[in-house]
């Protein structure tokens, strides 16, 4: 029982990341009709927002280490600590949450620039060409990151308060053995609230209403005299922000490196297809489903029966779903069928 709960939680936080990326992907599919292979790169950029913020806050100067008496020793001390003492230390500690403030405007700007500059010209081109040009863009983005940050993963710590493990077991009365890292729990909650926010935005605002109408029949909305293109730009910006925030908060879980986006991209594409192209609920559902399946497949008990299953489970599920339910689990009729 304990192991099942732990695997379930393990799957949920990974599933949260999948769901967030897939949500943005499918939002862009559904509205703009564009297959964006650079979406994983946006996730990666988000993670590097956290890295940059951490590096920015810990810009240091060499000061004499007073604790060593025998010779002149120097240590690096961040300016923030020198200026503000303990407050500075606390700020540095919270660099990952703080970088959300940086990530939102930055990702929005990147998203709008990308849509205006590139994606817009590919509305009417074939899907193959959309895939190819965004694939090229993804390569460019990740190579730029590699140039500035190197090829190695950069560990980015979560705030010290959350670095321990949460006694999940004793909270729900299942025994002391069930513990789970705080930060992953927070990530789960964070992704759920972002997903909720996006859904609420689409469901309860006039803007969202128009966007949903555009997803259903874009030409019709255009004929009604609504400037749908401008809204699509904003939708793309939102998708970018969602991917970026998913990346920011994921940085403490997985030290970011330049190709993390590509790794997640392939998975999130599979998630989108399994959930059904253009279906937001499907993307979220499939994201969590595949995350959980993956973590259960990684259990030793399962692996001893089916060796290697943990490596292929997601793709296997995708193949089966695509063949049995061509539209995906929750795909709507008429969206991206061919």
């Amino acid at each position: 029982m304990d192991t099942i709960i732990i695997q379930l939680l393990n799957g949920l936080d990974k599933g949260g990341a999948y769901a967030l990326i897939a949500l943005g992907l499918t939002l862009v599919f559904g509205t703009l009709g564009v297959v964006n292979f650079a979406h994983g790169a946006l996730f990666m950029l988000g993670a590097f927002c956290a890295v940059s913020m951490h590096q920015l806050l810990t810009i240091s100067k060499s000061v004499k280490d007073e604790s060593i008496k025998f010779f002149d020793a120097f240590k690096e001390q961040p300016y923030l600590e020198i200026w503000w003492g303990d407050t500075g230390t606390a700020i540095i500690d919270y660099s990952v949450p703080i970088s959300i403030l940086l990530a939102i405007p930055l990702m929005l700007a990147i998203g709008i620039a990308m849509e205006r500059g590139l994606i817009r010209h590919f509305y009417r081109r074939t899907h193959a060409e959309q895939i190819l040009v965004t694939f090229g863009l993804a390569i460019v983005l990740q190579e730029i990151i590699r140039h500035f940050y190197g090829a190695n993963p950069i560990p980015t710590p979560a705030p010290a308060t959350f670095s321990g493990s949460a006694p999940v077991g004793s909270l729900v009365g299942l025994g002391e053995n069930v513990v789970y890292p705080w930060w992953r729990l927070i990530y789960l909650g964070f992704s759920l609230s972002i997903i909720g926010a996006v859904f609420a935005f689409l469901k309860y605002t006039t803007f969202g209403l128009v966007v949903r109408a555009g997803m259903a029949d874009r030409d019709m909305v255009g004929l009604l005299g609504i400037n749908i293109e401008r809204r699509f730009t904003i939708v793309f910006g939102i998708a970018t922000i969602v991917a970026g925030l998913a990346g920011v908060m994921y940085a403490p879980i997985l030290p970011p490196d330049y190709h993390m986006g590509m790794d997640f991209l392939v998975l999130s594409f599979v998630v989108v297809v399994v959930g059904g192209m253009g279906s937001l609920e499907g993307a979220v559902f499939a994201g969590f489903l595949l995350g959980i399946l993956q973590s259960f497949a990684a259990m030793n008990e399962v692996k001893s029966i089916l060796p290697g299953i943990d490596q292929i489970i997601i793709y296997l599920v995708a193949v089966i779903v695509l063949l049995v339910k061509p539209r995906g689990l929750m795909g709507k009729k008429g969206v991206f069928e061919d």
Binding site: G136, F269, I312, L322
Partner: protein
């Protein structure tokens, strides 16, 4: 896509002779640009075969496969195993590579081709990732995991053992005694490239090729006229898979080592890039793409900051550091950045690749002539 035949049939022999001469004299005419050394020439020929095969699927039918590197990897592993178990002769190795890659292509194609468009791409991608992940993990006894499959002195080599005395060290790959390294290796690959190109030319000109192009332009109409399109697609998929297997086998022939990274989806992306860059659906385009990408890769990735400094020595001192810094983004390790940019530019402005560019120039010229 024009519906006329690409070449008139009676021109084919002439065309092939020219093509063969051009390919076989590559060591001569590539000398001035510094690309005439065996290693790079072999790569031209091998990836040429890969791209020509990929073009049969993508160029003719429009089905974009993101999993073709699987067949390349399968080919490499098969060839190395053939070297290990049977003989260092390359003929059985490449035959086995093609057969096994063909079988893989048959299985994967049979399932993937039940869908089309982007779903087909995702399905092939899923199969490719499955093969890659398995090759890294559970199949380690066959693939030797991260280290990659290598020859060793203790391999059985059953057939070789019957005829040849076991010598010192690891024997090298050979074609009935002719060692497959350096220029000999290149000529072997080049001959196979010529054969592969001839087959692709024949396919482009055959009724089968016409059927494939009809599928690309309108599959529904094609099936309304009574054609079952699936067998045609599957045949194209298997053929291009076998070409990829052959290329993989040749990679192992010239350097008997096989690693799983050859199967990663970025490797599949690379062949897509080459084909697109040259011109999808044209005969020569993919080869041009291979040549350009492999050549530039070779040049750009070898340039360091020092070479840049010398190159930009004409720039005024105040700007010098900046210019060198900026351009160092694009060379050495950053070669992929150049590749990505080049690729985006091609897709944005010349979706038909370099061959389309040639056509445009030709049209401009002929217009001028008329005036």
């Amino acid at each position: 896509m024009k519906n006329e035949k690409i070449l008139k049939s009676n021109n084919i022999p002439l065309y092939m002779v020219i093509f063969s001469v051009v390919v076989l004299t590559m060591p001569l005419w590539l000398e001035p640009i510094g690309a005439a050394y065996p290693d790079l020439l072999q790569k031209f020929a091998i990836f040429g075969i890969f791209a020509v095969g990929f073009n049969i699927l993508f160029g003719l039918t429009g089905y974009l496969s993101f999993g073709h590197a699987t067949f390349l990897g399968v080919g490499s592993y098969t060839a190395v195993w053939s070297f290990k178990l049977l003989t260092m002769n390359v003929l059985p190795a490449i035959i086995f590579s093609m057969v096994l890659a063909g079988i893989f292509a048959l299985l994967i194609g049979y399932i993937s081709l039940r869908r089309s468009g982007i779903y087909f791409s995702i399905l092939t991608l899923a199969f490719a990732q499955m093969s890659y992940n398995l090759a890294y993990s559970v199949l380690t006894p066959i693939t030797n995991g991260e280290t990659g499959l290598q020859l060793s002195k203790n391999d059985p080599r059953v057939v070789d053992g019957l005829f040849v005395e076991v010598g010192q060290g690891i024997p090298s790959t050979n074609l009935f005694g002719l060692e497959m390294s350096g220029y000999q290796g290149f000529y072997f690959c080049a001959v196979l490239l010529i054969i592969a190109f001839y087959i692709s030319l024949k396919i482009f000109n055959s009724p089968f090729g016409l059927n494939l192009r009809a599928i690309k332009s309108n599959q529904t109409r094609m099936s309304y006229t009574g054609y079952n399109t699936k067998p045609y697609l599957l045949a194209a998929f298997v053929i291009s898979g076998m070409f990829a297997g052959l290329a993989g086998g040749l990679l192992a022939v010239t350097d008997p080592l096989a690693g799983a990274e050859r199967m990663q989806w970025t490797a599949s992306g690379e062949v897509v890039l080459m084909t697109i860059l040259g011109g999808v659906g044209t005969l020569l385009g993919p080869l041009l793409g291979v040549g350009i990408i492999k050549y530039l890769e070779n040049i750009f990735s070898s340039i360091g900051v020092k070479e840049l400094g010398d190159f930009f020595s004409f720039v005024p001192d105040s700007m010098h550091a900046f210019v060198v810094d900026f351009s160092s983004l694009f060379v050495g390790e950053g070669w992929h950045l150049t590749l990505g940019l080049l690729f985006m530019i091609i897709v944005i402005f010349l979706p038909g690749g370099i061959m389309q560019g040639f056509d445009k120039i030709k049209n401009l010229m002929s217009k001028k002539d008329k005036e």
